[in-house]
């Protein structure tokens, strides 16, 4: 069944080519995109099932065996990320179709929207499946190039301004990543990760530390880790709602995925653990303090996005199995919830005419459905039991307590404070946008497009459903974390036997 592995990358790319040829025929484009992405979800789910029951799956591209050729590796972590991200892309696509129809401009920049969106998906899946550092770089470039186009869609002045910052910062991180790749190749003569596992061990200590630091720097920019995070709240909010949602859900998490991959597989032993933990604490606290100060929902949510990356780093920095599995669970939760919240914000913008808190009010009375769609994921984000945010944070706190160090306890305290401040931030949105008397300038009553509400509702249900499947999900995360820490399984899968 290994022929399934390349499909999540190949299908969206073919879909992108098809939709590009269908420019000007929106209906056909929509059909193709939806079919392709739904198929990607199904294939990803099959991959998750197969890797859980039968171990990692490897495809050698072009038939060139591993260290010479390029390999695509689907282990449990990659498969789980594929399932979650593909599901998000489908929901956001449905939402954007609903928005396009509702806004009534069926033709305008939409002809490039579908191809670019599919290319973005292909980049994300390629990065998850890459078993080779250079292929990981290519995956990043694919998704970044697509994201540049999506972020500057329509080319309005505001989007160009935000786009410039975003493009330049992303390019810089790519240059750093590429430099690290060049140096790693020069030092070891290979870029296949499974091969690097043994070759990196032979390097002098100082050199290894430098390479690790460079990779961490490159991925830290992509994952928006403080102090490399200030580009994010500045650029994301200007994009159209579905674009912001898919960026917030997926792009930073690809960076986190790359950090998890390199810190466990290539540089085990937790030499960067202290740095990661300190960065995690700063990311959480500084991010959420930024969120508290915002007066626009989109910007506020962007800051919470940065802040909660800190939780993921916390789990990675602990370098224990419980820490890693909690981080993996938290990634799944965070992708789902953050996407949902940005979609709900798009609905708020549609109903209330703005996302600025001082211009909104009384939405709970104007649109009770919208209130539910915002409140449930908002509480989930803040970690109110029994939602999945609570379960993920509980896992992290347990992992921190098991570690028992001063820094770990400090992080637990920081994490709880961040959780509380998140609640304060979303409660402020709730009070100002939903509970006040509606302002006189409130737009006349208009029904929300059913597709937009439907896809957001599906994600809200999915987010709540994470609580229901938390047991099995945590188990998958635990197995994936075990595989990451063990390393030998990954190497054997790639080379087809022990070395």
């Amino acid at each position: 069944m290994t022929w399934l592995v390349p499909l999540p990358v190949v299908m969206p790319l073919i879909g992108a080519a098809l939709t590009l040829m269908m420019a000007g025929r929106p209906r056909a484009q929509r059909t193709v995109s939806l079919t392709v992405l739904t198929a990607t979800v199904i294939v990803s789910a099959a991959l998750l099932w197969l890797t859980t029951t039968g171990g990692s799956m490897v495809v050698t591209v072009g038939g060139w065996a591993a260290p010479l050729g390029i390999v695509l590796v689907a282990d449990q972590l990659a498969a789980l990320m594929l399932v979650v991200s593909a599901t998000m892309t489908v929901c956001v696509l449905v939402y954007s179709i609903g928005q396009g129809m509702a806004d009534g401009h069926e033709e305008t920049p939409l002809s490039v929207y579908h191809p670019t969106y599919l290319v973005l998906t292909a980049g994300v899946t390629n990065a998850f499946l890459a078993g080779d550092l250079f292929n990981l770089y290519v995956g990043f470039e694919i998704l970044l190039v697509a994201s540049y186009v999506l972020l500057t869609l329509g080319g309005t002045e505001n989007r160009i301004r935000a786009g410039i910052t975003y493009v330049v910062v992303s390019l810089l991180s790519s240059v750093i990543f590429l430099t690290a790749i060049g140096l790693i190749y020069a030092a070891t003569g290979t870029l296949t990760m499974a091969h690097l596992v043994e070759r990196l061990d032979e390097l002098p200590d100082g050199l290894r530390l430098m390479l690790q630091g460079m990779l961490l720097l490159a991925f830290g920019i992509k994952a928006a880790v403080f102090p490399l995070s200030s580009w994010l709240p500045d650029s994301y909010p200007t994009a159209p709602a579905p674009v912001t949602a898919v960026f917030a859900g997926l792009l930073t998490k690809v960076g986190v995925y790359a950090i998890i991959r390199t810190e466990t597989l290539l540089f085990p032993g937790g030499r960067a653990a202290v740095v990661l933990l300190i960065l995690a604490l700063l990311t959480m606290v500084v991010g959420i303090l930024g969120a508290v100060a915002q007066s626009d929902i989109k910007r506020l949510l962007s800051f919470t996005l940065v802040s909660h990356i800190g939780y993921l780093l916390f789990g990675v920095g602990l370098t224990t199995q419980l820490g890693l599995s909690s981080a993996i669970f938290y990634v799944v939760h965070h992708i789902t919830i953050q996407t949902t919240l940005f979609l709900a914000t798009g609905l708020i913008e549609k109903r209330g005419g703005s996302t600025a808190l001082d211009r909104l009010g009384g939405l709970a009375r104007l649109s009770p459905v919208l209130a539910v769609l915002f409140l449930v994921p908002a509480l989930n984000l803040a970690g109110i039991p029994p939602f999945s945010g609570f379960i993920g944070k509980l896992g992290l706190v347990q992992a921190g307590a098991a570690d028992g160090g001063v820094l770990a306890w400090l992080l637990i305290a920081g994490g709880l404070a961040t959780s509380l401040l998140t609640l304060y931030a979303v409660a402020r949105v709730w009070n100002l946008a939903f509970w006040r008397v509606p302002p006189a300038s409130a737009p006349a009553r208009s029904p929300l497009p059913p597709l937009m509400v439907g896809s957001t509702l599906a994600l809200v249900v999915l987010g709540v459903g994470l609580t229901v499947v938390a047991g099995p999900l945590f188990e998958i995360g635990d197995q994936a974390a075990g595989g990451l820490l063990e390393r030998s399984g990954y190497v054997e899968a790639v080379f087809g036997g022990p070395r």
Binding site: T152, S174, Y185, A186
Partner: protein, 129 residues
Amino acid sequence: MTPNLVYVVIVGVLFAAGVAMLLERSLTRVLMGMILLGNGVNLLILLGGKAGAPPIVGAANERDMADPLPQIMILTAIVITLGMTAFLLALAYRSWAMAGHDEVQDDVEDQRIMRLAETDQGSGTEDDR
């Protein structure tokens, strides 16, 4: 390729000049900085592989062949840099068409704090005096 001083110095100069250009406000200069950086990285990758005869089976002794992998990676990197250059140029042009210049604008947050400072309200981040 055995690291030779000329190449190392060239890589260093390209990186230094690239970073210096990157810190400029004008997007066209940022773009040039990016191109310099990209070329610097490409040369750096080239330094990581062995030099020698063309790596074609039968054309040369296998032991004398050059390492083809860095060259392939550079090709990929060049293509990506080309695409990025085109996109940044388009951004710069669009920025010039919309705003009359191609300068990188201030952060929204910076603008807000500056506005507050001008109206003497304090930014809320420091004690009012």
